[in-house]
């Protein structure tokens, strides 16, 4: 068995014991699964335990995903009142047209102001619509992102979107709304080995069911400038190696049988290689003076011990399997 909430809590506590500050965040669909049918009492028991565990991990922002609404708003309001930092910028009360939960939260860490804002996808499935009735409205995510980033400019150094929208929409928002540094996404349950870059925004997801934790290390030298992937030079180097191999193969072909189009191909790849070498120099230069990040997917493997308190809570609920 991989993952497990008790193991996740131990991992977070271990990370907290290290030198640098740790912020725990969740992008949505924490509590419920639309594919799970049957005992709603059991689902609520498990959801309450997850809320308790995320409070124990001192999560700083938990975005409301559409599936989190499966048991209505009362459950989420109860969790929020217990101190779970639920956020959503575009989940509105249908009467007042105002956000039900805080649209964003700003954390000041080591002198850097980090803003987290959350977005939920529009168009609920019937089971979710039935649970919330006509009590909520979902405002257009793109318009909300634009307005929220505008509000956060000057109030935060770093803007992080916790998104339950899915990669396609995350990409669209990155292109349309400059100023978001990272989009920590979800919805499609993807595992990202490397962050997707759109303009100056980086996007990733951390798979599903808590089997992995996405660990994003930020090294900040100038809070107002952009970031670079620490692994970018390695990636460019691999591409240059590939080009070298192709050039050598083409040269061998040419030596066997001279052809004009082979010469042209060699020339074309050589030009491309020179461009990539220039990019490599720039990437290395950026790493030596600018902000950078390192993304790793941490597998919650069995060797990580389970947190005893959480184990006890699980035993009290008498839930023995998902």
């Amino acid at each position: 068995m991989l993952g497990g909430i008790a193991r996740r809590v131990t991992y977070v506590e271990k990370k907290r014991a290290e030198r640098r500050p740790v912020l725990v965040v969740e992008s949505g669909d924490l509590f419920f699964d639309i594919r799970e049918s049957g005992d709603s009492q059991k689902a609520l028991t498990k959801a309450r335990l997850l809320g308790r565990a995320y409070r124990r991990m001192e999560a700083v922002a938990v975005n409301v995903g559409d599936q989190d609404l499966l048991h209505g708003l009362d459950f989420l309001r109860e969790e929020s009142s217990k101190g779970l930092p639920l956020i959503s910028a575009n989940l509105l009360d249908s009467s007042s047209k105002t956000p039900i939960f805080p649209p964003y939260l700003i954390q000041k860490v080591s002198g850097v102001r980090i803003a987290f804002f959350g977005l939920i996808p529009p168009g609920f499935r019937p089971a979710i619509q039935k649970a919330v009735g006509e009590t909520v409205l979902v405002k257009d995510p793109l318009e909300t992102a634009r307005e929220t980033v505008q509000k956060l400019r000057g109030r935060a150094d770093l803007i992080v979107l916790l998104s339950d929208l899915g990669l396609e929409m995350d990409r669209m928002i990155s292109r349309a709304v400059p100023g978001i540094h990272f989009i920590l996404g979800g919805n499609e349950r993807r595992l990202f080995v490397r962050a997707n870059q759109e303009g100056e925004t980086y996007i990733f997801q951390s798979y599903e069911k808590g089997m992995y934790i996405g660990k994003l290390l930020l090294v900040i030298r100038n809070p107002t400038s952009s970031f670079q992937d620490k692994l970018k030079p390695d990636q460019i180097l691999r591409e240059i190696d590939g080009m070298d191999r192709r050039i050598r193969t083409l040269q061998r072909d040419r030596d066997r049988q001279p052809q004009q189009n082979v010469d042209q191909a060699i020339q074309f790849i050589t030009q491309q290689k020179a461009q990539r070498e220039e990019e490599l120099r720039n990437a290395r230069d950026f790493l030596s003076r600018g902000n950078y990040f390192l993304l790793t997917m941490e597998l919650m493997e069995e060797m990580i011990p389970e947190d005893e308190a959480v184990q006890r809570w699980i035993a009290e609920t008498k839930v023995e399997q998902d």
């Binding site: 068995m1 991989l2 993952g3 497990g4 996740r8 991992y11 977070v12 990370k15 030198r19 640098r20 500050p21 740790v22 912020l23 725990v24 965040v25 969740e26 992008s27 949505g28 669909d29 924490l30 509590f31 419920f32 699964d33 689902a43 498990k46 997850l50 995903g65 860490v109 080591s110 002198g111 850097v112 992080v160 339950d164 920590l184 996404g185 979800g186 919805n187 349950r189 997801q205 951390s206 798979y207 599903e208 069911k209 808590g210 089997m211 934790i213 660990k215 994003l216 290390l217 930020l218 090294v219 900040i220 030298r221 100038n222 809070p223 003076r289 699980i314 839930v319 399997q321 998902d322």
Partner: protein
């Protein structure tokens, strides 16, 4: 007493230089999950 004070000041300065050697203002770790979907004991499915 004065010497001890100077030594402490020097040690503190060296420590600060060491801390800022990489030019970093801050190092922060974000830990992220998504789509936990109510699972306490996940398995591949």
């Amino acid at each position: 007493m004065r010497n001890i004070f100077i030594m402490l000041t020097l040690a503190f300065s060296v420590l600060l230089i060491y801390e800022n050697a990489g030019g970093e203002l801050a190092e922060i770790t974000l830990l992220h999950t998504n789509n936990v979907n109510g699972h306490l004991f996940p398995c591949f499915s």
